[in-house]
Symmetry: C2
Subunit: 259 residues, 2 copies
């Protein structure tokens, strides 16, 4: 039997089978909530939990107490310093986003999002779902790494949703989507959909060169311009092959006009 | 501005409009959970909360703190001593029921249940949803007052669902059902679907007479026999007109054979 913080055989059956979306809590504040999130995930067949910069550090015994037996999920939780690092091996990232934003990105309901995720995981893609901190939600910087937004249809008069409740709805819809989404054939191209890490490599390359050529010299506008570039390249599925081409494009451009 | 326990203008917009299902917490233990339930209800457009014999009494300030602004719901929460009293003015009662039971009753998913409720409230019927206590769930006695069971499709390897999470899923499906369920025409019969109170009046009449005639004399079997009778009469929609007929039937039967 595996060891864990409580010494209980917490959810020994909860063996992550197959390719299921990764739940990523960004700067979560309360250990109680992290535990409740694990419990809600287990209810809906989600097993992979990642934390980005949890406020009070990790691990925290309070989380195990709130998980009501979903210990196994917490035992395997991974911690990252940045959203970028947490999504580096994933191919599509969804973010829950209660308020309208200016950025152009596909917006889905929880049900629609779950169906998309199911279709993607059936194709072998690795998926993540970002949830923001309790009080403030995700920030503009966090959205840079996301491809899709999810907004729950809820009563507009009272949209304040508890973190674990938000995860519960998503986990429930994930579980419900099993029957509803037909499987698609696996993609057989020789290339693969780029991971976030591969995409960020390219973005770093691009930004380095844009800094170099002075395109981003306005320090006030720089963050927003970079975000817009990220969003542009996140909009569709970019293959690893295409990224290599893009690297080439940037490398060639900076060489300047042919002599 | 209405006064409430916290002095905040908690969810001033949360004015119960129209006919929405009543959430009934049976013997809830933790005030925190009651508050979280109120918050989840507000997310999904449910406004009527009733408590049956809350363990630590009522009101409790902790509940208001956990409600994150859904104060208005808690301010209007009604407390009852028994399930029977809590459902007396309702016409259909649903109960969440995680484990299979021996009793014959329609079993619905959360989604199916929400659609049924929507259809019923569109017909002007008053609906309640029972949720059991945190640890133990509803007991056989509680189910006597219910017409339908709801079982959430969730991962069978981990079915332990937090009380407020259970309410969240139901509230979410209730809100989602708006678009999906076509309205039906209001029923125009001169009679109405009996309330639980009217039905219980008849049941009391029936049981009194059955006691009198000795049908229920086996004290060990008595509770189970009574439960079965309740379940029998709860299975369909009984009209108030039909109940009057049933009263007559019982009254006539106890008079014995015509002389």
């Amino acid at each position: 039997m595996e060891k864990n913080m409580t010494g209980r055989d917490g959810g020994a059956d909860l063996i992550p089978v197959g390719n299921t979306p990764v739940v990523i809590l960004v700067r979560p504040q309360l250990a109680d909530n992290i535990g409740s999130v694990a419990r809600a995930m287990a209810n809906g067949g989600l097993f992979h939990l990642r934390l980005v910069a949890p406020r009070d550090g990790w691990p925290q015994p309070k989380a195990w107490r709130a998980a009501s037996g979903a210990d196994r999920l917490l035992d395997h939780t991974k911690v990252f310093d940045t959203v970028e690092a947490a999504v580096a091996d994933l191919q599509h990232v969804f973010a829950t986003c209660p308020r309208p934003r200016q950025i152009i990105k596909p917006l889905l309901t929880a049900r629609g999002g779950a169906c998309e995720m199911r279709e993607m995981t059936n194709r072998g893609l690795k998926i993540g779902i970002l949830f923001g901190p309790e009080r403030t939600g995700l920030e503009n910087e966090d959205f840079v790494q996301t491809d899709y937004w999810i907004r729950y249809p809820l009563d507009p008069r009272f949209m304040s949703l508890n973190l674990s409740q938000a995860v519960m709805i998503m986990a429930y819809e994930w579980w419900m989507s099993t029957e509803e989404t037909p499987e698609r054939q696996l993609q057989t191209n020789k290339t693969h959909i780029a991971t976030k890490g591969e995409l960020n490599n390219f973005m770093n390359h691009l930004i380095r060169e844009l800094d170099h050529c002075g395109f981003l010299r306005n320090q006030e506008k720089r963050p927003g311009m970079i975000r817009n570039l990220y969003h542009l390249f996140q909009r569709g599925e970019v293959t690893e092959q295409e990224l290599r081409t893009l690297h080439g494009v940037v490398a060639e451009l900076v060489k300047g006009p042919m002599k």
